[in-house]
Symmetry: D2
């Protein structure tokens, strides 16, 4: 292993990032060092790259390496590391738990009281090498390609959000044609949803949605969404709503379209407070709402691994671009300014 590496670094409190040469980090006692084989761009990375107000308020120490979705090979482990070995092909959970709070002690580490986020609260993985705590390291199935293994983290969001209750034989309505919405369409399909609708705005992405399993996509700019959904559900509304958009529009339409006794999974992050018709949307309908953050550690990861390794879940149409790490700026450009042509973007160091 050489001593220097290339990394995509946010150096200053302003938009943009740069490719810099850095020393390869060394793992602490409970950490592992990974040679990154593939890494992918998340919406959070886009916020940090663009340095919006959330990022400016949240990121504490600059310079910092961006990124948190990856797959790679372990090349060194710390002295306290027991489960992970050199040579393991791993990805990582982004939520770094404290292991001491009530949630960490009751199978809810993903909502730890003292959560740190990889690539947000510490250096990330848009680099040739990255260090992660053993507690979040996840052994991949060796048969899965690195670019697919890299996106297991956001895929896990979709798996947890979609499958928090069964969808088999049910109708599912997804808001949002970003990568997580597309993943959700694939997941709902493989899990046996009888009808999967996706509301989006970008024809290319909606075509991907149909390719991975959506029964029907609805263009929010043009289609009669309410009429279509009612006619497709005997006038009842859908069994399940997955909000991967977080917009007031999705919330209003979602609570209107969910059937009595149905389920609403809230994953999308809203721009601020939202207005809800609590009476007619939730109380009188007897609807259950699940706030979804992250993925179950590690129940969701097992599901993701098994679905990918078995070949049952084909998410490759969602990964529309694979670029060298050095072309990271083009990757961000694709996600921000050209959603019309892109799904998920993977970078290869």
């Amino acid at each position: 292993m050489g001593e220097l590496m290339q990394a995509v670094v946010k150096s200053a409190a302003e938009a943009g990032a740069e490719l810099v040469t850095r020393s390869i980090p060394r793992p602490g006692a409970d950490e592992v060092l990974v040679r990154v084989k593939a890494t992918s761009i998340c919406g959070t990375d886009v916020h940090i790259y663009g340095w919006n107000s959330w990022a400016a308020g949240r990121i504490r120490d600059l310079p910092q390496i961006l990124g948190h979705e990856f797959a790679g090979e372990v090349v060194e482990v710390g002295s306290e590391v027991r489960r992970i070995k050199v040579g393991d092909f791993i990805s990582a959970e982004t939520h770094i738990p404290c292991r001491a709070c009530k949630q960490c002690l009751t199978g809810q580490m993903h909502i730890c009281n003292n959560l740190k986020i990889l690539g947000v609260d510490c250096d990330g993985c848009f680099a040739e090498y990255a260090v992660v705590p053993e507690i979040v390291a996840w052994k991949n199935d060796p048969s899965v390609a690195p670019e697919l293994a890299a996106v297991q983290e956001p895929l896990g969001n979709a798996v947890y959000c979609t499958l928090v209750e069964p969808v088999v034989g049910k109708s599912v309505l997804i808001f949002g044609d970003g990568p997580t919405g597309l993943f959700a369409a694939a997941v709902a399909h493989v899990a046996g949803a009888s009808k999967t609708f996706l509301v989006g705005r970008h024809p290319v992405r909606m075509e991907i949605a149909r390719k991975v399993g959506a029964t029907q996509t609805l263009d929010d700019n043009r289609d009669d969404i309410e009429g279509t959904l009612l006619s497709e559900t005997d006038g009842l509304g859908v069994d399940v709503v997955l909000d991967m958009a977080g917009t007031q529009r999705a919330i209003d339409l979602g609570f209107k379209m969910v059937r009595k006794g149905g389920r609403f999974s809230a994953f999308g992050v809203a721009g601020g407070r939202v207005s809800i018709d609590l009476n007619d949307g939730i109380v009188f309908k007897g609807v259950t709402v699940y706030g979804i953050n992250g993925r179950l550690m590690f129940d969701t990861w097992f599901e993701v691994r098994n679905l990918l390794a078995s070949g049952r879940l084909d998410i490759s149409p969602i990964i529309t671009h694979k670029l060298p790490l050095s072309e990271f700026a083009e990757g961000f450009e694709l996600m921000v300014r050209r959603p019309k042509v892109s799904g998920k973007v993977v970078l290869i160091p």
Copy 2:
């Protein structure tokens, strides 16, 4: 059985009601006729009595007999009636289901698509006799006193709302010191909650809450609610929030005080749309929200009956007033203008 009866009737589209003499109704083929032994006043009755905008928009045919909570003896049954016999001591579920929609066919009759409400969509039970469909008739435990049996319907709201997930060993926060909130305090206690907090505004009602099992009551006008709850829960927030108030205040404070991974049961009816901090209140916390309407038919009723019959649940302190049916106006007065002295009000025909 005589041919005439006394009944509390809303005759005109304006506030108030009057005691009138009516013919005793006859049960239809799938109905039963009950001689009412005790009946109790619900918030819905108060809305209809006071003829607020909701009532004016909802009630279709006048004159109509008010009331839907009761206990009594069956004195006649229709030709298709099989389960209920003359002489049975019954109460009734208020939600009259269609028996044909998807919810009715899947154990969710309480949120039937074509729901009718006793005393709202048809004549009610503030009378010496009442007719109810067999499908909603509920056989009471003979050992339970009529005034306790009469309030099983609102008690069932509290049982369903509180126990939609277990509370044993958990901390529970109740908003609202009306009768349903007080019932919820009693239910949380008997079901093993380790701490039960009730936020209210009326000292007499909060005293009742403590009597039936609340660990601590908090006066919304004076106490440091946030500080107290955080100090009582190791800074985590409460495991369970039961909103029996439906106010913006309860919603804001509830979603702020519920712990990560906690549960929020929404039963209170809001005055209109509400504003919610979806991100911090639900999504990032991984909170589950249950819309609660009515009671499970009839799982909740079995729980209610068993808890009352076993003597484990003592709700008698919540029934503060027992009046003759003819003094119904005083009953309404107690509930509307004098909540400082009243809990649940029962009328005896």
Copy 3:
């Protein structure tokens, strides 16, 4: 409608049955009359046809029309019938509930305390016309072919048994290559099981299993079942066992192969008492066992309808034979003496 019909009748307390001419029955007040379009043979019919000791002890009144699985068109309804109309294309739940017991009042009608079974406790549907109570009538999706609609009842067994907990991303082991085992393989596949193993003895049936979705079939006479399963599950054992056989062999192997924390669904009917290694098979492993009888009324039926209507579940390879009703004897022969060539057998009146 003519006044006479052909029906397959068990006339005497001995093996066999005969095709006889009967009056078309008239529906009672709460019943519907159906013109049968397709009907299928169940193992229970085989027992009655062969008049084994169970049948001899259970069937009370002869002569009786056999059969309980069917699809057909409603041609007449009784005076109390409200949900079903003349012209509806229906099948029927076989479990006729009392509507009055605790289970019937709590969403568990399928295990009613006073259960009657269609074709066992009353005349069945191996006939041109059949009468069923409205309570068990199920409106089919009009797009589903009668021979597929006819087998929804046993398919529902498989759906309930398989999906009592989610299987998505899990490994599933099925014992039994009879029609219900084959249905279960199809269901596990459509619901997202990552690996589905079926243990059987008949090559033709195991080939069908693979066609409808089993990842791998294991021949109980030849294959190294334990070795294969351990190697396919990282030595852990399978997540889910579905016993559709009821043999001591299936029970022993099932509880041995299920992983710690796994699930065992017991649907197969045993020949008598069974021996179980309670400690190592259930207690120390923390296994959950579900006794499965019938199907949820009507949650399972909705799942079945949605899966068939959406085209997601293709069970047509399992229906290997379609015969005229008059050739019923050949149908029984196929199921009893020639399991090597048959899956499910459908009769067309």
Copy 4:
């Protein structure tokens, strides 16, 4: 801290144990050293003390310190220990998990694939000091007395076994009047069971059961158990059976008495294979059976702590004897030969 301590040690492969002087052990990097304030005797300790065939086959290295239930103060922590501090008042989970297997990664550490048991696979806590891995250390509520804190581990068995599904408003039948059965009676009561029956053989213990909450105790040698239970449950059978005995008698009677759709928690360890009426006891009834081993780590511990700290669960009548550690032989004697006078026995170093 002195350098020597007293400990109850099994020195030879034969019945008995002796009080010996040992060096106080030092904690490893991920371990903590505890000064034991109270420790209690479990059935497992009795097996090892008596050196029955299970113990002879299971215990690998002698000499070994007995015991695994305790409460004490942390006096030293290893270099990798982060959650636990010197001065903490702790007890410990007995199941030492590997932290690497599938169960350990999915919230089921209590059934880890590579489980080690404190006091069985390594030195235990019948001593003045004991070493335990940090992963199993549990911080007690400071208000709970050491002798109550010491029995949280077996109490946790009862809590997990009883509350694996809610018992509120249900009838519960417990087999076994040993300490875990008595704990279960207390737990069922505090969690709102409407009727709790306990089948036992020792009048003193059954009296304790009634004191902590059993509605009725049934003497297996004399009472008409079936008749009583049927008459107390409207002929339906009980909602919940908790088998804390593991005898063929308990299994037969339990599956006979559980109602259709009911629940059977299997915690008792059987003497060998058992015979079960699978058809009538599980399949046709639609019964769910939970194998219960250990306690959820650490959901159950939180429930236990909250119930004890809130004063809602009073288990003090179950602790019938408190002896100095040096009188351990009398303690074993009480549990083995004199169950007629003893519940749980606590030893104080």
